[in-house]
């Protein structure tokens, strides 16, 4: 007990009892104690002088915080759709066999804890897991055996990694087995870039000129929503206030996307420079990179990149050599919550709170981080901004389609021979992409992740761009033998769990949609159930507060449209009512406790 109190004190003092650092405090307590118990929660509350329910609210919101012990080695195995396709549950069995406990449990000696987690940004090398912050990819039963043996022998997670990925994954500060799998380089992101050049050019222009170039380029937000970046910067610049922030949304959580991970690994300078350019344009002296908890393994490396950029004069006082432009960047870590990819939820989280989206207005451009005007942009948007400054807005606008200029990074995974990163020009068709990634036999492609749409074969001529198939970059190829309803179910489970719980339609509606889907999958559905599902999808999409709820029914909604036959094959045609009631299951427990044999037929 005394020890717990001391640990909390140390962690709290490390952050000067600043409530905005609540996530950091909790993360440190969790790391030291292996859990954040009720006692630790009230200790944190007491020492930080906040209510214990506020602390508990934060602890229970994020996936990587836990009130219960997670094990000295906490294994978080990804069970999102593509991982399942690649054999995640076989790997899970191997872990259970070797570790001697089930998923959701901790081994009896407290050493190994097995947990499932949602997508961890490794879809091109699944099944993958995070163990004590270290990434393990392309798992096999043999690998699992060796990993568990090493854990049992007490090796640090980092030392269990024996093979390393390509490129900078091999660098001293990352030393990870993660692979970049860059399959196609384009003119914007993966063309040669000389660090420092973009900011130097930007600061030779006026902020208005920078914004003008962004507007000319017609760059739209690369997270998927597609709001014009130049306009966002302009609004934030126009917003009254001395203090402003530029925030990089490094929380790519949409299952199937991993492009930002590769940007962080290979071209972080270009991204940070883009942030500095944004800071210069809007009049901010501080930038934040909000990095998803799953990418903790990149933090030290990115900190090092920042410090080198400071040494080079790209960041810090008179950044980029511009007198009076003092600009620096900090990294804030997430802790496992998909909804934090929504910009206002990200801001809440960066302020040390539950990642619940805010009501709008006010928009972040008016009142964002710490109540100050803030522009939140995607990782890829910042990289594109650097290139736009170097090459000019017009150069950029020559690529792509009328509504979607430039190139887009796609994260391709699933049933194809060449999964990985593709920088394509906007307007590329699904068919072309399938040929490039060697996924020609696909029966469906999930474009834009679960919140996007499931496209069937007849529509593979559709183009990837905001005016046709918008995507933040996630492309999941679904092969001939896959059960699409299983994929839909996996996605709906994901949304049900990742809903922040704030608004009724998303919190309740997704539970109900999931139940209804299961009813149909179990063969208890009727035509009326399909109609109900359609109606409920519309309600959740229409009435939810943020983008999560407004898109969460899409797995069902788009497959009901594009793959109706799959549903119709499952329902009992012509019946107006099918009960899900199962007498044998319903009386099982009571008969067992009374010590009698269930007599389902006779009664």
């Amino acid at each position: 007990m005394g020890n717990m109190s001391e640990v909390v004190k140390k962690c709290v003092n490390n952050y000067q009892k600043d409530p905005a650092r609540m996530l950091d405090v909790i993360r440190d307590v969790q790391a030291e104690l292996g859990q954040v118990s009720d006692a630790a929660i009230s200790e944190i509350a007491g020492q930080m002088n906040v209510s214990s329910v506020d602390v508990e609210g934060v602890v229970t919101f994020y996936h990587f915080f836990s009130k219960d012990p997670v094990g000295q080695y906490s294994v978080y195995l990804n069970n999102s759709a593509v991982s399942v396709m690649m054999g995640c549950y076989e790997i899970a069995k191997a872990f259970e066999k070797e570790a001697g406990c089930k998923f959701g449990e901790v081994s009896s000696d407290g050493k190994i804890g097995l947990h499932y987690t949602a997508d961890i940004g490794m879809n091109d090398q699944e099944p993958a897991a995070i163990i004590n912050g270290v990434i393990f990819t392309s798992l096999t039963a043999d690998k699992v055996k060796a990993i568990v043996a090493d854990m049992k022998s007490g090796k640090a997670a980092r030392d269990i990694v024996k093979e390393f990925g390509d490129g900078k994954n091999q660098s001293e500060l990352i030393k990870s087995m993660v692979k970049n799998n860059i399959q196609k380089k384009g003119a914007v992101l993966f063309a040669p870039f000389s660090p420092g050049s973009a900011l130097n050019k930007a600061v030779s222009m006026t902020p208005d000129e920078v914004i003008e170039q962004m507007k000319i380029s017609n760059l739209r937000g690369r997270g998927g929503a597609g709001f014009p970046t130049g306009m966002k910067w302009d609004y934030t610049r126009q917003s009254p206030g001395e203090k402003k922030y530029i925030v990089c949304n490094g929380d790519e959580g949409e299952p199937g996307t991993f492009k930002d991970r590769v940007i962080f690994t290979e071209i972080p300078e270009m991204m940070f420079e883009g942030m500095a350019i944004g800071g210069y344009a809007i009049g901010a002296d501080e930038g934040l990179l909000y990095l998803r908890g799953e990418y903790m393994y990149l933090k030290t490396y990115l900190e090092d990149v920042l410090s080198k950029m400071r040494q080079a004069g790209t960041l810090g006082k008179n950044a980029g050599g511009k007198q009076g432009f003092n600009f620096d960047i900090k990294i804030k870590m997430g802790a496992g919550a998909y909804v934090c990819g929504e910009e206002s939820a990200l801001i809440e989280s960066a302020e040390g709170k539950r990642g619940e989206p805010r009501n709008r207005p006010p928009f972040p451009a008016q009142r964002g981080y710490m109540g100050k005007p803030t522009s939140v942009n995607n990782v890829e948007s910042f990289c594109s901004a650097s290139r736009i400054i170097l090459e000019g807005g017009e150069w950029f606008a020559k690529m792509g389609t009328a509504q979607s200029r430039g190139t887009k990074l796609l994260s391709v995974s699933g049933d194809c021979k060449k999964p990985g990163i593709y920088e394509i020009e906007f307007g590329t068709t699904i068919q072309t992409l399938l040929e490039e990634c060697e996924g020609r036999t696909a029966k469906a492609v999930q474009v834009g992740g679960p919140s996007g749409s499931c496209v069937d074969k007849t529509k593979f001529g559709q183009r990837i761009c905001y005016d046709d198939l918008a995507t933040g970059g996630s492309i999941i190829v679904i092969g001939q033998d896959r059960d699409i309803l299983q994929v839909v179910h996996n996605f709906m489970e994901f949304f049900e769990e990742e809903s922040c719980g704030w608004c009724t339609p998303c919190r309740v509606g997704n539970q109900l949609l999931l139940h209804k889907l299961e009813k149909v999958m179990h063969g208890h559905g009727t035509e009326a159930d399909l109609k109900d599902m359609e109606q409920w999808c519309v309600t959740v999409k229409s009435m939810s507060r943020c983008g999560l709820g407004q898109t969460s029914p899409n797995p069902i909604y788009t497959t009901l449209k594009n793959f109706r036959g799959i549903y119709e094959a499952k329902i009992q045609k012509g019946k107006d009512f099918v009960s899900e009631f199962d007498m044998a299951a319903a009386v099982k427990d009571s008969c067992a406790v009374a010590g009698r044999k269930p007599n389902v037929e006779g009664h």
Partner: protein, 184 residues
């Protein structure tokens, strides 16, 4: 044309809904003119001997017998009505739905404060084969069979029952005054 035939039953209910049906006072005489009662506690007819037009169900399903009676009603009635909160959503008996059935039975028969202290050791959870089997939770009727109409209340107001039955039998539109639609 012969009068519509009505059957009623109480499953996991308290008979309060039936009491409320009787609470229509002297309109019961008009009701008798309008309909004929078949299987019902009202006239003590115990088995179905013909197809009924309307089946009125009070109470939800807490055991296997409830389920069979309900299924029997569905088979023998053209229209089924869930009468009252218990039939509609389980009602008071469903307050056990958040508690594992094992704990409920142990509290009721082995450990609870009303269990006879002097008969320690002799206490059992009833297990006679003749007894209905307890379900894991109390089910609303419409999760077991198709239910056509719902009349809420605990009990439903007599006026609501009356208006609903008359509307159903005469085919007129049911008008529900604000005061009679209540869940308590």
């Amino acid at each position: 044309m012969s009068k519509p035939v009505v059957a009623t039953t109480s499953l996991a209910g308290c008979f309060g809904c039936h009491m409320s049906l009787l609470d229509i006072d002297d309109r019961i005489l008009q009701l008798i003119d309008l309909v004929e009662f078949h299987k019902s506690p009202v006239d003590d007819i115990k088995t179905f001997s013909k197809m009924c037009d309307i089946g009125i169900i009070e109470g939800g399903c807490c055991n296997s017998e409830n389920v069979h009676v309900l299924q029997d009603f569905r088979k023998n009635c053209k229209i089924l009505i869930s009468l009252g909160e218990c039939a509609i959503m389980g009602g008071l008996p469903a307050m056990r739905n958040g508690i594992p059935v094992k704990e409920c039975l142990e509290e009721g028969y082995l450990d609870g404060p009303t269990v006879d202290e002097n008969k320690k050791g002799a206490r059992i959870i009833p297990n006679d084969e003749e007894l209905p089997m307890i379900l894991d939770k109390v089910y609303p009727c419409h999760e077991i069979v198709k239910v056509d109409y719902f009349i809420p209340g605990c009990p439903p107001r007599a006026d609501l029952i009356w208006e609903a039955l008359v509307a159903l039998v005469t085919g007129n539109e049911l008008k529900i005054p604000y005061e009679v639609l209540k869940f308590d």
